[in-house]
Each structure stands twice: as C-alpha cells, then as structure tokens.
Symmetry: C2
Subunit: 776 residues, 2 copies
C-alpha cells in the first residue's frame, strides 16, 4: 500500500495540486470545531469532489418509504444538509482565472497542521505567490475564517478576488452504495438576504425540520499602494464580495474573511441574526492572528493531555495524531451536540450519530478531554423525551435510543439492524458510568447521568424475561455484528444490559423496589456458552450455525455480494462482537475464556466494519499477541490515510480513529476501568521502543511511559490509585512510580483471521520503509 | 354478526341498490374465468367502490425503493393494473340519467347465480324495466359479455344507452394498510384506437413490463318499432357506442355487448388484434344465449365433481358453494397462469400469487378440477428459469421460487417474510406430488413435475447443513407464521423440505448420487421438539420465547399495532404453522403428539391471517373436536360473505374459500393423501346431519356420503383402493360400500384459543336463526 503523504510527526502535507481522489482528500483536510465543519476543498471551488460545510444538528427531514411498510417503521430520516459555503475565494490575475489543472501552477502545497489547527496552502502562479490559511476556531463555535494572501513577484499585476458565501450549491452524484449519503438538493429555503459593504447576511430555513439559519460574512482587505476596490452583490443564495487591486512587485493583497453561523429550531430570526453578526464582527475585530493564537493555545492544552508518543512506527505515530486531531474536531463541543459517525468531515451515514459515539469515541474523549464527553452525553440526555416516546411507540418501557439520528428521532430504515440493536441503550449507560468514574462529576450524574441510567435500564427490565431455566433472557435483538440479526441472547447485549441494570440500581434516585428487580435481572442474566466448543456464543446457538465457506473466491464487504439471508444463517462475523464484549465487559471472562473466544471469533471475523480492528487490537494485546495487535492498530489508525479513498470520501471514520487511541492506550497500555477501578497492564510489541500517553483521572493528569521492560506512572494530582499488571499502586504528585513489566506468558499460537484477511503486517511495512524511508 | 344476503343454496342475492360497503360488494359479485375478471360494479359506473377489470398476467413493473437497500432486494414489483373496463352501460331515459342513489328506483335486485355463472340485475325506474346479465364465459378465455334490456312499461319513452370501453380509468384512494394494493395511475400507454360502426379496437402497452394489449368491443342492438340509432366515438382511451331508441309501451331495447382481450409480452400487435377481433366476432355471432348455455354446461360439469352438500347449516352450505364458484373463477385456466391470492376479484396484494395457491387452492382443484391444478403447476414450471436465476442471485442452488409474483420475479419488498420463506419451494413440490398421485398424469410428471421436484430439492440440499448433532438443519428461514421470522429449523419447513427431497429422489430423471444425498438429508432432517413442554416446536427454541401478554387490551391484527420486534420475540402465532405441518405432514406425528401440539398452539394463535382457520378446522376435526372444527369451518367459509368488508374490498380470500372445502372434505371427511395413499376418517359434528362430496381420483369420480353413523363410498371408475378409519377398502363401479363410523374416542378438553379469540359458534348462530331464519 503506498503512502501518498510524507511521514511527519505533526502534520499532513500534500505536495502538488490535488487531481484525484478529491473526495478523500477533502475529508482528510477538513477543518471543524464540533459545531462547524468545512471540507478541504480548494478556495477557488474547482476541481472539487464533494464540497460541504456542515453545521452540527442542521438537518432536514427526508421521507422514508417502504415497499412493505409496518408498524413502528420511522417515517422520516434526519439528514444532514449543506450549510452556505464560505470557502470560496476565486483568484483572477490579469484576465486569467486560477485553475490548478492548467499549466503554470508551481510549488503547490497544502498542510494540515495538527498543532496550529490550520489548513494552509501555498503556490506560485501567473507572477504571484499565494498563501491561504483556514481556521475553524475551537474557541469560537460559530465562526470560520480564512486569510488569502496574494503577493506580486517580479512585476506589477492586477488581481481580482471573488469571495462567495454560497447556499444550495449543486451537489455531485452519490456513489451507488447503501452506506453512502442521501443528498437533498436545494435543502435551504431562502428567507432574506442583505448586502453590506464587504459582506452581508443570508437567512434560510429548512422546509420540514423547521430549522432557521443565519449566515453572516464580512471581510477586511489590506495591501497594495492604492487601496483595493471592494464591492458586494447579494442574492437569495449568494453573497459575493469582489476585491480588485493592482499590486506592485513585492506588494501583498491580504483578504481576511470571517463567516459566522447561527442556527436553531427554537430561536427567532432576529436573535439568530444578532448572534451571527456579533460573532462575525468580534472575530473580525480581534483579527486573524488572534484566531490563530487562540487556536494554538487550545490545541497545546489538548495535546498536553491527549498526545500519544510512540517510538518505532512513524507512520502510525503520524496517523494517531491525525486521528486524535480529527476526533477533537468532531467532538469539541460547548453545547450538547451529537458526534456524527463521520464527524463534520462529510455527509456519510446522512450525518447520523450512532453507537460509535459512546462505544468508541467517548472512551478516548473521557480520558483526554472529558468536557467533550460530557456534552455528548448531555446531548443524549436532551433527546431523552424522544427516546421515551420511541419506547412507548415500540410498546416497550423507559427509553429506546435511536440507532441513527441527529435530532433524536430514529432515522434508520432497516429495523433488524437498528430498532433491534437495543444495545445502543447500554452503550450510552456504559459511557455514563465511565465518564462518572473517570471525572467524579457529580453534577452531571445528578442532572443527567441518573436519568440516562434509569431510563435505559427500564427498557431492559421490560424486554428481559425469565426463562424456564430460571435465567433472564433478552431475545430478538441485534448485537454489534450486523451479519447476524434479531437473535436470542446476544452475549454483548446481555452483558452490557447487565452493567446498565446494575448502574441504574446504584443510582441515588432509583426506586428501591425497581432497583431490586434490576439487580435480580442483572444477577440472573444468561450468558450463552457452548460447552461443546468451549467458547462463549455470540448469541444463543451461534456456534452451531453453518460455517461460512471461506474457500470461495469472495469479494468484500460481503454485504455487497451476498443477501442477508446467507449472512445471517452462518458463522460469519462482520465486526467484533464477543471480542468487544471481552473488552468492555472484560470483567466477565476468565483469561482462558478470552483466549479461546478470541481464537474462535478471529477465524470468523471479516472486518467489513471499520469498528472492528481497534477492538481486535485491544484483545490481541491483552492476550499477548502483540504483533497482531500492532497490525490491527495500524489498520485502525491508517484507515483513512492509506485506505480505500472511496470510503473516506464521504467523511472520515471517526470511531476508527478514536479506536486507534484505544488500541494504544487500552491495548499496549492495558488501561481498563471496570467498576470504576483504574488498571493497567502495559506491554509493547517488538517494534515499539516506547509508548507514552496521558489520561485525565478525576481532574488530574496521569502520564504513563511504557518501555519494553518497565512502565512509569506520574501525576500532577494528589493521589491516584491504580493497578499495574494486577499489583495495587498509588501514584502521587512528585512521586513517579516505575514498575517492571512481568515477562509475557506464552500466549499460544497466533489466532488466525479468515484466509486472505489477515491485517497488513506493520513489521513488513516498517522493514520495507527501511531506515530513511517512512521516517521523516 | 348480521347476514346481509338471504340464505339460498345456489345464489347470492342482493335486495335493493348497493349504497355501502361498495368495494366488498364488488368483490363478492365479481365474475371471472381464470383469464379475465370483472368486478361487480353497477353498469352505469356510479356509485362505485373500486372498479376493476383484470387480465391474468397483465402487470406493470413498479419500482421498489428501500430506505436502506441491500444485496438481493428486488428492484421492482410486478403489479396488477386495470385493463380497459367494458362494464359500462349508462342509461338515460328522457332527460334523466340513471343513478340508483336518487329516488324512483324500484325492486333493485342483483343475483350471482352459481349454476348459471351469471350476474343478473333487475329494477324498474322512470317507466322502464331494466334487466342486465353479465357473463365471463369459462369456455372463452378472452371474452366478457353483457346483455342490457330496457322494456318500456306503460308509456312510450326515449332511451339512450352509452356503452363504454374505458382505459386508464381514474382510481379511488387506497386504504392505509400495508396489505392493500399499490395502484398505478394511467398504467396503459395508448398505441392505437379504431372506431367501428358499433364498437372498435384499443391498443395499449405497459411502459416497463412490455406487455401489449388489444381490446376489441362490439355490440348488437335489437328492439323497438323503429330501428335504434347507433353511433360510435373512439379515442386513445375510450370507445363509446351510443344507442338511442324510442320504445312504445311493452317494447324492449336489447343491447348485447361483447369485449375480447388479447395480451402478451411476446406477440406482435397485429397478431393480438387478429385474435381479439376473432374472439369478439365469434362470440357475438354465436349470440348471448349460446354463451349462457355453454356457461351452464361447464358449471354443471364442475358441480357434478366439486359440489359439497351439507345438511344442517344452510349459511355455510351457501358460503361453501359461493367459495367453490369463486375458486373456480380464479383457477379455471386453459393456459398456464398464476392463481392470484385474490383471484381476479380485486387488486389486493398487488395481484400477486403466493404460496396460497399450492398450499390451499390446489388441493381443492386437484380433487375437483385437476386440469386447473395442472395449469397452475405448469405456470410454475414456466417460471422455473426465473426461479433458477433468483437462486443464483441469492448464492443458493436449484430454484428459489418467489414469494410474491405474477410473471415469476420476486416482488416482495420485505425479505424476512418473503425471501426467507423458502417453504414456498416445498409447497410447490407438495402440490406436484399430490397432483401426480391423484391423477396419475405421467405426461405432466415427465414434462414439468420432475423438473419442479428436482430444482426445488436442490435448494434444500444447498441450504440444509449437518450439525454437530449429526442431524440436518435449515436455518434462517421463515415458516408460515409471519409473527416469527428468520428462525432456525422451522418445523413446517423442515418436514415439507423432507417430503420435497424424497419426492425428488424418487424421480426417474434424478441423478442417483444426487438422489442418495437428498435421501440422506431427508432421513436426517431435524424435527424440533421440546421434551420439557411435551410438544413440537414451531422452530428451534420457540417454546422458550417469552409469552404474549393476552391480558392486554389488544387490537387485531397485531401487526398494525405492534412492531415486528415485539412480535418476533414472543410466543404469538399469526397463523397455523405447526398445525399446518400436522395437516400436510400428518404422517410425521403420532395422534398423541398432534393432540398436545394442537392444544399448545391453539392457545397462542391469533388468526391474523385468513389462511389459519381452515387448517385449524381440519386438525380440530381429526382430533375429535368436531364443534370447534365446525366453528372454524364457518369462519373460513363466511369470511368474505359475513366478514370485514374492508378486507374483502381488495378482493376475495380465495385460499380461505378453498380452505372451506378442505375443512369439510379433509376435516369432516378426513381425506388424507400421504405418500399418494387415499384415506378417509369421516365424522360429523352434531349439527350436520349429512355431508356429501366427491373427488376425482385417477380419472374416476369417488362420491362420499357421510351421515352420523356411517359413510358410503361409490365410484364410477373401475376400482379405488382407500382406507376408512384405518380399514382398507376397495370401491368398484356399481358396488358402493357403506361402512360404520367408529365411536369417537374421548378427545379430551376442547383446546382454547387466546382470550377473546375463540371462533364464532356455529351452534349459537344456527340456534339464533331458528327454524325459519337462516334457512331459505
């Protein structure tokens, strides 16, 4: 697999103008701050893959129609729409309009800087040097800004910049894949437009979801001996500010553009306009350099807690930081918002948030940037009323959280893999428990956490039933593995529901009788196990299903080449399910059980979901298969940078990127947090000389440095109790603890993936890259 | 429950003009000959419920779109469309146009005569007496005809008749029910129109399915002192022939209208027009009386073999004949055509044929009118290529017959209740084996039967897998009960597949090695049984599912009020499944097993499908619960006549009507045909004094007369070997055999349906009707 970007520790650099895989490139170079996301399109708009500016929770309702409708099928899907796009700055020098596909563009380079939080671009063309800088400031949720600098080189030139704010931009055709997005054409209904001297205001609303949106843009212009001419035209869907200037040699024209958005389904347009203007004007007045300074400070703080250093695998080092940066961009919110599966980097999955958030993204955010985790869980809490309504509609009880959603309504059109996947309830509860234990944030627990735990538990209490065997069973559900559906006693679901019920029973506000019943169900929960095979069953009877015929000349993902009928009735696993249970509920398995289960399911797991490899990395590491863990880490971390461009074109795999952090910290670091106890079992694969990471624990920072033979723990907090390979340890400020890593017991033979599906070997890639290759 | 029609043995009579439940009435009074169906609308077109003229296999493709598409989901549904409607004769007397909703219509009566095969109508209005007669001749598959007679009463009148052939008629709104039809507006594309002196020709085609259709209409006019004036206007979608006449007192104007249709996706329009004209002209030349005469002769022959006489329940006697007549109208074909679930009486289920045909309709037709059964099976054989393609698409083998279809393509948009319902394959095989045994039709077996048996068996051989227990299993399928889906080892499916495999293995043309494998699978087929509950399981584990809470204040059908999620995971049964297995594969159960199973499933079966009660009647009778059997017989037979008008409005429940015959002949007559052996076990419920029916067996007629204490068997054939309550008997021509019915062993307590769902008591209704009530 080729690596198109130079391996550098703190940036992603593109040499030359982008001409292919444009959609993927736009995703990789997207900027976002949890509220606003803009894809990495070129300033001049063409060539382009799929332009997009997304505002978190700006969506339209799209009707869902079914060939055979049935009770409880959702009637509409909340679908992300493009906000007015402010990235356009079209450059004309003399009579020539810039187009990087034509000759004469030299030294084109773009850099996504992970510490600066900017996308910069530079090139020379037509006698000018151009440098553009984009920033979507983390500290200003409503603002995006760019600076466009044109410097005349050896001769005087006339320069024209057309800077657009464009709504209802025409969208390209979507690829033919059920997992791609549905694009709504012209989703924004113009309400009002206003031109100003160097900018203006657009007001739109969505037709069915009733969201109002105000976009305010303004510019400052500077440079040249004679003041540039500035004019603005405004229409219902476009504000265009045009700047013309004559530059003498060495003179620079600088355009700073600030756009601010304000959107809500509650507030009136006047309030929205006021807010958008205020945010725009403040940012413009503070100046572009101030935005850059704040951005750097914010990121310095983030990296201080979140950075993971690893020696020995520079491509993965780069990819992990790239991933952490993008997860932060998806999740760094200051009001309750969803964290969509693609963040704000694309419209894949229609912009929906899924269980990915709680199961894969929030573990990382909880330990590195817990406020983000808190807002994401507060968003779930804000959707509780709708989840209660959905539970009532389904004839259940408590809350039934949606499988796919933006604003809280179930937006999935295939119930066996959504409505039946009740485990999303338990995944939310698990994230609440983790956040509460890691932060000690009692206010959150009182205000939101207990509601979430109790209402999700009520669903389980309603669905679980006591069998003739005396055990409690949960039937008719779909677990993480979507290659089986609507099964009995999915192991993952049962164990996660068990934790959910116990967590709810422990709530201060729980009714004692109800809590007693929850404990009874949890204690009696059935855990499917095959004595014949000596492994846990993914669901009751799974191990007696027909085996998949892996000798066949199959194409992947299987779901595009086989009917559900064939997938569901066989022992073929799309993604970690029992293995994920062994991670999140590792306390429910013995080491021997984990080893047997891992080997069994490894041989049947095809990883047709990007959610699989991080979990396989974690369990492989726990079981001592450290090289295999390293390979799965690589797969997770490099998915978007090296992977299938078509898939990343709809947006990045945020959960997989967050999962790379988990693969390192929970895999090689061995972090576990069962029952709120912090434990580590660090151990490195042969090619990694050192791993250093930090986590936040109850307000303090705990830094862990792992080398092949020992691990050092240090904290800036008072005192942290933890376990190191089973040994209780207390770490206090100023008193770092260094402990030996016990020798690796023989882990037995390396578990084998299905034929042809072993992950790419990191060892082989690193050997191929050699000394001077991959490492910059 | 009120009975709106007088109880008469051989007709359905409507007093007064129809003003409500129009859609239901139109279904009840529909006429059809297996090829053409016309609904029982009024000649003048209004008031109307849902007008319809259907030509068997005339359909359009309707795109199916899915909120979340997946591999193997059908892209289009074959959907029945309305053919040009020739039923219109609009009457004007003087200046007044007939409308039965206005005052002055006297003595309005319509009669569906089950022996004449006609729908007649008579009334007086505006000084004239009108009589219309419709016939859709069984012996002329392409023709429908009507005679409209207007007689002046006491004074001279001017009369005008506007007789239309109307295409692309505007359709009423459909009811909001997932089981209702999808109506395509303006489905026929006009190609050509031609007016003639008293009629004309319309040529249309369907846009996507590529079917061409020629409709030719003509009239003869007679009556009055002065010859009536006749003129015709033709347009792309309408041919109107207008007749005006002045009638003196007592004079009669007689209009005879004949329409002939010719439709095909293969033939050219010239050939189609030639055929339509030929059939029209021949019928018109032969005259209306000849059509009536032929119709009567055809029906006399049908009734001679098919009639069932029962003493003691006049409403059911009427309903059973009504049902037999409609089944004949649906299935009396002279070329291979499907028998749609609604026959040709409405557009319900989009005009699709389902497994109903083979499992419920063909048993009756095989024993009463075997040629019809043969053509229906030849239709399946004609669709074999498409079923093979579907099997390949599904990554299976052999043939995968569609769940819903007209022209052979899978047309269902919900795979868990269609693609997964593989049992349709075995149902077809079962019908082939039954037909072959009952008729000895070796030519059919050679030409079609073996292909069908072998290709369906290949599917099972591919899907079945040998488990660690050594038994063969079939996983991921849906049985007859659609309140569970995608389950393991559905009992019905496994047992029917077993018969299918054995039937294929016995074929002369089977490959010996393949046949040996089929026998091995059949012999080792798993039969799920719960030792703990002492009953067979509907599917593996069914009896350990959570029970349905029948105390809740539920509304039926459950599927309109509960999500599949709730239905699938509980012990609630939509329709006979184990009970149907105990009927069709009664040889696989002991009497004690049947009794235990029946009681168990009776308590969990809600009969939300019309396919359920006939089977429950049959098993109840077999187990000696004769009054319960009588009640279920009543439910099946009276479903359309007394039942929910809304449901019958989309067309009659053909399978339920055929099932009433089975309830009598297989229930109270005890007819079984396992392994091609003919057995009877007749026994009557207390209110039936006598039951007489006939079946055809290898070309001969066997008449069975059952009275409370004995049964008489007589044949016009050489010799029929049969069993009577286990005793081997031979019946020869001229040597009727009368045998005693052994005393009924104690059947134990009467099995109970879920609370509130016991069938209506025939005993109670008959008692209420009293002596002079129900009986005419």
């Amino acid at each position: 697999m080729s690596h198109p970007y130079p391996v550098e520790p703190w940036c992603l650099r593109e040499h030359g103008a982008p001409t292919e895989s444009l959609r993927q490139v736009e995703s990789l170079f997207a900027l976002a701050n949890g509220h606003i996301g803009i894809r990495g399109t070129l300033d001049e708009g063409d060539p382009r893959g799929m332009p997009g500016t997304y505002l978190n929770s700006l969506y339209e309702l799209r009707e869902l129609t079914y060939p055979e409708d049935a009770y409880g099928f959702p009637e509409a899907s909340e679908t992300v729409v493009n906000a007015p796009d402010a990235t356009f700055v079209r450059l004309t020098v003399g009579d020539a309009a810039l187009d990087v596909r034509t000759a004469g563009v030299h030294g084109h380079e773009r850099v996504l800087d992970l510490r600066e939080g900017t996308l910069t671009r530079s090139f020379e063309w037509a006698g000018v040097a151009v440098r553009s800088t984009r920033v979507v400031p983390f500290t200003r949720p409503a603002v995006a800004a760019l600076r466009y600098e044109v410097r005349a080189l050896d001769a005087a030139v006339t320069v024209r910049l057309d800077s657009d704010l464009l709504a209802n931009e025409e969208q390209p055709e979507q690829r033919d894949d059920p997992r791609a997005a549905t694009v709504l054409q012209r989703p924004l209904v113009p309400q009002r437009h206003l031109g100003e001297a160097a900018g203006g205001v657009l007001e739109h609303r969505t037709e069915r979801s009733g969201i109002r949106l105000v976009s305010a843009v303004d510019h400052t212009v500077d440079g040249g001996a004679t003041p540039p001419a500035v004019s603005t035209e405004a229409g219902p869907d476009r504000i265009r500010t045009t700047v013309t200037a004559t530059l003498g040699p060495g003179e620079t024209l600088t355009l700073v553009k600030v756009v601010a958005y304000s959107w809500s389904d509650a507030h009136d347009p006047g309030r929205l306009e006021h807010d958008a203007r205020h945010d725009r004007d403040t940012a413009l007045a503070d100046g572009f350099d101030a935005l850059l300074r704040d951005q750097r400070l914010h990121l310095d703080d983030f990296w201080r807690h979140a950075d993971v250093e690893l020696d020995g695998d520079p491509p993965v080092q780069q990819a992990v930081r790239f991933g952490l940066f993008h997860v932060l961009q998806a999740g760094d919110q200051s009001v309750p918002h969803p964290v969509p599966a693609k963040g704000l980097t694309g419209n894949g999955y229609d912009g929906h948030a899924l269980w990915d958030t709680e199961a894969f993204v929030l573990p990382m955010l909880t330990y590195t940037h817990p406020d983000c985790a808190q807002y994401a869980l507060r968003w779930r809490h804000g959707m509780l009323a709708r989840a209660r309504e959905r539970a009532t509609e389904l004839r259940l009880a408590g809350a039934a959280f949606p499988w796919r959603t933006i604003g809280g309504h179930e937006s999935s059109g295939y119930w066996p893999a959504s409505t039946a996947a009740l485990h999303v309830n338990a995944d939310i509860a698990d994230a609440v428990l983790r956040y509460a234990a890691a932060t000690g944030d009692d206010a959150f627990v009182r205000e939101c956490g207990e509601d979430l735990l109790i209402e999700t538990a009520r669903l389980w209490a309603r669905v679980a039933h006591r069998g003739d065997d005396g055990a409690w069973h949960i039937d008719g559900v779909t677990g993480p593995d979507e290659y089986t559906a609507v099964v009995r006693d999915n192991l993952f679901t049962n164990l996660m529901a068990q934790r959910n019920l116990r967590g709810a029973a422990a709530c201060a506000s729980a009714d004692p009788a109800e809590a007693a019943r929850w404990r009874e169900i949890a204690d009696g929960m059935h855990v499917p196990y095959s004595a014949a095979k000596g492994v846990h069953e993914q669901h009751a009877g799974f191990t007696t299903l027909q085996e998949w015929d892996f000798d066949a000349d199959d194409e992947y993902p299987l779901l595009l080449h086989h009917p559900y009928f064939e997938l569901y009735r066989r022992q073929v696993v799309k993604q970690a399910d029992v293995v994920l249970a062994m991670h999140l509920r590792g306390d429910a398995f013995s080491a021997a059980e984990k080893a047997a289960n891992f080997a069994y399911y490894e041989a049947r797991t095809v990883r047709d979901s990007s959610l699989s490899s991080p979990t396989q990395a974690i369990l492989a590491a726990e079981l001592g298969h450290l090289e295999l863990a390293h390979d799965y880490l690589g797969e997770a971390a490099l998915r978007d940078l090296q992977g299938d461009g078509e898939k990343s074109g709809d947006g990045l795999h945020i959960a997989s990127l967050a999962g790379a952090w988990s693969a390192l910290v929970m895999g090689f670091g061995g972090l576990r947090d069962h029952d709120g106890r912090l434990t580590f079992a660090p151990r490195l694969p042969s090619h990694l000389g050192r791993l250093r990471f930090a986590i936040r624990w109850r307000g303090a920072r705990l830094r862990v440095t792992v080398t092949p033979r020992e691990a050092a723990y240090e904290t800036d907090g008072d005192r942290i109790d933890l376990h190191h390979h089973g040994e209780a340890v207390t770490v206090a400020a100023g008193a770092p603890v260094t402990l030996a890593i016990p020798p690796l017991p023989d882990p037995g033979p390396v578990p084998q993936a299905p034929p042809g599906l072993a992950p790419a070997s990191r060892r082989a890639e690193l050997a191929e890259a050699g000394d001077g290759g991959a490492a910059a």
